[in-house]
């Protein structure tokens, strides 16, 4: 193992990777270059297997899978397993889940059902749809499969956000370009220098024309887009005003097709038909879809997302925090991944495969035993490097800021030109209107002239003809009169014609003037347009300069940060080592002291217990002594009293007998005397009986007194020991206490330093990343560990076989295999998915909030303990884990199955011993309970809760 590690390090550092090398080699190469000190050793097979399952299919492997993998001798088993998992539908499901949570952030459904959307994502990942195509569909889909040619589901991203222009701008920025522009809506970002208000509105220009279209709530909402509307903005701080065409972060403004008025629509809006959805010829969202794959921010974002998905931590965290001031630990690596993913044509599966094959992915999450931080001279050299890099970075930042100022000036100039141009165009429209009016008037006048001309012609010709006639018949008065009338008419019409002709000329002159004015206005507008175009060219040029400057400033900042990170890493290691050593020494010292102190303390405790016991015995003896003494006294008292009475009665009997002797005939007296005699005898008997008890009581009292004396001695003997034993403890205690506190403090300091170090090593991927499971990963891993997933899979297979029987001897063809796999996966998912909800509620973030934070709450623990679910999963049934364990008699084999099933590893010797002890300690009838307890315990450990 050691030899291989050494080899591997040697290979990485000695041979520079070239572009011809596979991506995974280049990744490791770049990472190794960036490290300050030793990286973690490769992870064991068990750690790798658990990790690759969690990352690629979202749950741990079964015990059987773990056993097969661990027992395999194949040298390529790691990459083969990765490839196998990547090809499963479980992988597509896991990716669909991951991207759903990332993009929708567990929002409540609004217009598109989650199940439909997830099925769409699942299908996309199952067919390994190129990522840029997937993103393009999300931007372009309008919810109407017929008009857009795209399924309805991808429209969920925009539809379920109600196409709120600022919300979708912000979220598309966050999710697809890795930048959170939130604050840049109203001004340049106050905390992130390189997010400009202009960037926000550039993105917004793609989206601002989109609206939700739902004229009738009986039909599903779709998206509509307007044909006009530009993004103009004003900073609430600096009052800088600008306007931008659609433009992606890190890109240039996109030229827009100039459509002649009236040709902007494929389906024009119709005021009379509100249920008709207008469709513009020029869709801004389609432009967005067309733009993204070439955009560096878009590429970087997805490379970062996929890296984070695989490695447990993204290169740039948070995912939407990419900026010059939030450097990735390995900037060259970030660029390499972004570019290579595009070269791979956004093939997600191929990309993940490369990542799985890196040593970086396969590194242990435990800090290296030998950190080997660089010497102070090396760090000092880095610090010198900082000194040269700092002014360079400041200079490029200054250059960038200057270029932005120039850009702003050009944007302002162009905006002013836009305003002028708008005015000129409006004026042009006015003159056009005037010209049209004048032309009409002129045309009308010409029509009048033509009419008059016609009348004049007819009447004058008639008059001429009539004159010829009257010339021939001058006497015909009637004819003469008629001719005169014709002539009169002709004269009138001649006059009218002359007037009309004059009017026509005036109107024509007016039209000519209007034409001139319009031509002038047109020229003015065209001049303004030319001017605008010139200014626009300046904007684009200034933008290009600013972009270039941004790249330089970012690169300089990243280089600076990279060296700084290396210094900080080295320092963290240098700080940790003595603290760790100190903690170990303090711990050893404390243990040594405790070795002396603990038995002394134990002796004291034992002695104190003995004294307490003796004191109790003594008290008991004392009580007995007192009781027996009291009993003796009592007896003696009774004897005295009895003797007294007896004597009196006996005396009385004697006296009575004397009297009776003097009066022998008195029978009554005789009877009385007999009574006295009888009582006296009786009392004497009683007295003797009492007197007989006295020695017993006396003996008891004496015995008790002796016992008490013994107890007293025993107590005082022990008491006498106390000062000596106490002294030993008292003498040892201050030192012990001091060492204990010192050990605690040293351990706490070392822990804190270790936390910091672990964090730093994690951040630079020098160790495998330690990260909590997502709610779904946790839920599915628990179900897998308990055996639910496998049970459902077996049941689904059986169901499929029953419904689709194969004829005897018939082999399954590829079609049937595909259908079977699809059906089984779907059934298993449908039947177990419901369990996710509680996990999401307890372990996830709130709806609409980022979902990657970690929370530990008492409720989570209470759910596992008292919620009933986990306990129910662990009830033995079929071939689930506890049922399998119950069937294994040998404790050692049982322990192996338990650890493989729950923790994807074989147990350590002491763990096997624990299992044996646990089983032995309880009666047979509690065996199942013990098995459940142990499984429950392993599934609720940190080892289960985290990816490591």
């Amino acid at each position: 193992m050691n030899w291989r590690n050494t080899m591997w390090v040697w290979v990485l550092t000695a041979v520079a990777a070239s572009a011809a090398d596979p991506l995974y080699v280049r990744v490791d190469q770049l990472l190794a270059q960036g490290q300050a000190a030793a990286m973690a050793v490769p992870a064991g097979d068990d750690v790798f297997l658990r990790r690759i399952h969690l990352d690629l299919i979202g749950r741990i492997p079964t015990a059987a899978e773990a056993r097969a993998f661990l027992d395999s001798n194949a040298t390529d088993k790691r990459i083969k397993t990765a490839e196998h998992l990547l090809a499963t539908l479980d992988h597509a499901r896991h990716m669909a889940r991951t991207f759903d949570v990332m993009w929708m952030e567990r929002r409540a459904d609004k217009h598109v059902k989650s199940t439909d959307w997830q099925a769409y994502l699942m299908q996309s990942f199952a067919t390994n749809k190129p990522y840029d195509k997937l993103a393009g569909e999300i931007f372009m889909a309008d919810g109407n499969a017929t008009s857009s040619g795209l399924p309805r589901e991808p429209a969920k991203f925009i539809l379920d956000r109600d196409a709120e222009p600022h919300l979708i701008t912000r979220d598309i920025g966050r999710k697809f370009f890795g930048v959170d522009f939130q604050c840049a809506q109203c001004h340049d970002h106050p905390r992130v220098d390189d997010y400009l208000q202009r960037d926000y509105y550039g993105l917004q220009a793609f989206l601002g024309r989109t609206t939700v279209f739902q004229p009738d709530v009986k039909f599903p909402a779709v998206l509509a887009e307007k044909a006009a509307g530009e993004s103009r903005y004003k900073s609430v701080f600096t009052k800088h005003e600008g306007e931008t065409r659609p433009r992606l972060f890190g890109g240039l403004e996109v030229d827009q097709l100039e459509l002649a008025s009236g040709t902007e629509w494929v389906v024009a809006p119709d005021d009379k038909n509100k249920s008709l959805r207008p469709i513009p010829r020029n869709s801004r969202r389609a432009q967005l879809a067309a733009q993204v794959s070439a955009n560096p921010a878009f590429r970087r974002n997805i490379a970062n997302v996929l890296w984070g998905h695989m490695m447990g931590r993204a290169l740039v965290e948070p995912l939407d925090g990419f900026s010059a001031d939030n450097e990735p630990p390995h900037p060259e690596l970030m660029e390499l991944l972004a570019n290579e993913f595009a070269v791979m044509k956004f093939d997600t599966r191929a990309f993940l495969r490369e990542l799985a094959q890196t040593q970086t992915y396969q590194r242990s999450s435990i800090l290296p035993a030998q950190l080997a931080p660089p010497g102070t001279n090396v760090v000092a050299a880095w610090e010198v490097e900082i000194k040269t890099l700092t002014p360079k970075s400041e200079q490029s930042e200054g250059a960038w800021k200057k270029s932005v100022a120039t850009l702003y000036q050009s944007v302002t100039n162009r905006l002013l030109a836009t305003i002028e141009l708008d005015k000129a165009v409006a004026a042009q429209a006015e003159t056009r209107k005037a010209l049209d009016a004048a032309s009409k008037v002129s045309t009308d006048a010409n029509a009048v002239t033509a009419t008059k001309l016609d009348l004049h012609k007819v009447t004058s010709e008639a008059a001429a003809k009539a004159k010829l006639a009257t010339d021939k018949l001058p006497a015909d008065k009637e004819l003469v009169d008629a001719t005169a009338k014709f002539q009169a008419r002709a004269t009138t019409f001649a006059a009218e014609l002359a007037a009309a002709q004059k009017d026509g000329e005036t109107k024509a002159a007016a039209t000519k003037a209007a034409t001139d004015r319009h031509a002038a206005a047109e020229k003015f507008a065209n001049d303004n347009r030319t001017k605008w175009k010139d200014l626009d060219k300046l904007v684009i040029a200034a933008d290009q300069t600013a972009q270039a400057a941004a790249v330089v400033q970012q690169s300089d900042k990243f280089n600076l940060a990279k060296v700084q990170r290396r210094i900080d890493d080295a320092k963290a290691a240098q700080e940790f080592l003595p603290l760790d050593a100190a903690a170990k020494v303090a711990g050893t010292n404390y243990l040594a002291a405790d070795k002396v102190y603990a038995p002394a303390k134990q002796a004291l405790v034992t002695l104190q217990a003995a004294i307490a016991a003796r004191r109790d015995a003594m008290a008991a003896a004392q009580k007995l002594r007192d009781d027996t003494a009291a009993a003796l006294v009592d007896m003696q008292k009774q004897v005295t009293v009895k003797a007294d009475v007896t004597k009196a009665v006996t005396d009385a009997a004697t006296q009575a007998e004397a009297a009776r002797l003097k009066l022998p005939a008195d029978t009554e007296l005789a009877a009385a005397v007999a009574k006295f005699k009888m009582r006296s005898d009786q009392l004497n008997v009683e007295l003797v009986a009492l007197q007989k008890q006295v020695p017993d009581r006396d003996a008891a009292a004496k015995g008790a007194a002796e016992k008490m004396a013994v107890a007293q001695k025993a107590l005082s003997d022990e008491d006498a020991k106390l000062p000596a034993v106490q002294k030993v403890v008292t003498d040892l205690e201050p030192q012990w206490k001091t060492l204990q506190i010192a050990a605690n403090e040293a351990k706490a300091k070392a822990d804190a330093a270790q936390d910091k170090l672990t964090q730093r090593w994690n951040n630079s991927f020098a160790t495998g990343v330690f990260a909590p499971l997502t709610p779904e990963q946790l839920c599915w891993s628990m179900m897998q560990g308990a055996g639910l997933v496998e049970a459902q899979r077996v049941a689904a297979e059986a169901e499929f076989a029953q419904k689709n029987p194969l004829a005897a001897g018939q082999a399954e063809d590829a079609n049937r295999t595909a259908t079977r796999l699809r059906t089984v996966e779907q059934l298993v998912n449908d039947r177990l998915k419901g369990n996710e909800a509680v996990f999401v509620k307890l372990f996830g973030g709130e709806a609409g909030q980022p979902q990657r934070d970690y929370y530990a709450t008492a409720e989570q623990a209470l759910y596992f303990t008292n919620g009933g679910t986990l306990t129910a999963w662990l009830a033995p049934a079929g071939t689930n884990l506890v049922a399998r364990l119950n069937a294994i008699a040998d404790a050692k084999l049982l322990a192996e199955e338990l650890y493989l099933g729950a923790l994807t590893r074989r147990p350590l010797a002491e763990e096997v011993a624990d299992v044996e002890r646990q089983l032995a300690a309880r009666p047979k009838e509690q065996r199942v309970a013990v098995l459940q307890e142990m499984t429950w315990a392993l599934m609720t450990t940190s080892e289960f809760r985290f990816r490591h």
Partner: protein, 429 residues
């Protein structure tokens, strides 16, 4: 010998926790591993000094004219009189006679103008201290306070919402602060979710499985302990503590006499439960009273509603003061907005966020103070106009927090309160 360096004797445990407790203060993350909790005395001390918050939410929009800012004998004043309070010079509506006697513990802000007349937006503004922005949801006051006050010695949930319904899980009011600080609904006589052991779960099983879990965790922590694993391990200890303390949520443990003093209606019970919870160390408790959305018959309804509100609220304030809790506990009575000075044709008042009031008291607030003023008939703020954002800063400051601080959320700084506003300094004691 049981006592080893790693897991420690009882003394060791307490010593380590106390040391680490000091180290971790303010980090918002549990550090400490397998240890049980600090000594009861230390917890008791911590519980006494910890700051707490009670929010009384008057749903629908309480009329400022029938409560904190009466304008009797004006065209907008309505039929009720103003009465003197325990603070000379401060008059409030005659609908609040008991509260009037507690005025020396309270303060009034009479110049609130949020320029908003919408229920949803108003509630959001008053509880988050922010103006609604698309694409961004901010955490509510209770969650912010629960998070800011969190420390490893607290074993009870930090944020409880006493509701009319049953006891449920977490509500969505913590935004990016996460579910740990979202309020837990507590209704009826039910303790929080999962604090009851199922009948088929024996104490032996619980003990055995926990012991096995601890052992496995110790082994894992030997090489891979992080602040996150510590927090996870700690959450199980907290859970057990919570089960032990279930009685905290049991209102029937309060004396009958107090039940009578607070009244048998829901709001009375809720106020009594609020008292019990803050006394036991819950950081933030929300109580609600419904419904003040009196577009019709404003005066009838306020007469009824405030008649129910007045006594239990005043009793709560009085009890907190008497028990020495008020110096650590801030109480605020708020509404999404006030009601229009203009009385409509249905004798109602409509939504009005342009000149209304909030009542608050306790913790670090000035007692018996009034800030802000409206004109003679209450149609406009004339003095010290404030927005929901100012109030939010003020609440935090009164609880001893620096409202200019940030939370660190996944590597991003999130200001505790809207940086565009500031606290009402003259209200801070």
């Amino acid at each position: 010998m049981k006592c080893t360096y790693e897991c420690g004797s009882a003394e060791h445990t307490v010593a380590r926790r106390q040391f680490l407790g000091g180290l971790a203060a303010g980090a918002g993350m549990f550090i400490g591993g397998l240890d049980t909790f600090a000594t009861p005395a230390a917890v008791a001390q911590m519980t006494r000094d910890q700051k707490r918050l009670i929010i009384v939410r008057m749903h629908g929009g309480l009329s400022q004219l029938e409560s904190w800012d009466p304008k009797p004998n004006t065209d907008t004043g309505g039929p009720f009189r103003a009465i003197p309070t325990s603070v000379p010079g401060i008059h409030i509506s005659e609908l609040l006679p008991y509260t009037a006697k507690q005025m020396h513990h309270l303060a009034l802000v009479r110049g609130i103008n949020t320029k908003n007349d919408d229920h949803g937006k108003g509630t959001y503004m008053m509880l988050t201290g922010r103006h609604p922005t698309p694409g961004q949801t901010f955490p509510e006051l209770g969650a912010v306070v629960a998070r800011a006050m969190d420390n490893s010695a607290l074993t009870l949930p930090g944020h409880i919402n006493i509701a009319n319904g049953g006891s449920g899980g977490r509500n969505n009011d913590a935004a990016y602060l996460g579910p740990k600080y979202a309020s837990i609904s507590l209704g009826g006589a039910q303790p929080p979710a999962y604090t009851t052991r199922p009948a088929n779960l024996t104490e032996q099983t619980v003990q055995q499985q926990d012991e096995f879990r601890r052992k496995a965790n110790d082994r894992f922590a030997g090489r891979r302990r992080t602040a996150e694993t510590d927090a996870y391990v700690q959450s199980f200890e907290q859970a057990q503590e919570l089960v032990r303390q279930r009685d905290v949520f049991d209102l029937s443990k309060e004396p009958q006499k107090d039940h009578e003093r607070y009244g048998t209606h829901e709001f009375g019970k809720h106020c009594l439960l609020a008292r019990r919870l803050v006394e036991k160390g819950v950081t933030c408790v929300q109580v609600s009273h419904s419904n003040y959305d009196t577009h019709n018959e404003n005066f009838e309804f306020h007469f009824e509603q405030l008649g129910e509100f007045d006594r239990p609220f005043a009793t709560l304030v009085g009890d907190l003061a008497e028990r020495g809790l008020l110096q650590h506990t801030m109480i605020v009575v708020l509404s999404e907005f006030g009601r229009t000075p203009r009385i409509n044709q249905y004798y109602g008042r409509d939504h009005w966020g342009h000149a209304f009031s909030v009542c608050m008291g306790g913790a670090g607030l000035q007692r018996g103070a009034v800030v802000g003023k409206t004109n003679a008939n209450g149609t406009a703020v004339t003095e010290r106009q404030v927005d929901a954002g100012h109030l939010f800063h003020t609440y935090l400051r009164a609880l001893g927090l620096n409202s200019r601080h940030h939370f660190n959320i996944g590597g991003q700084k999130q200001p505790m309160a809207d940086p565009a506003f500031a606290a009402i300094d003259e209200l801070i004691a």
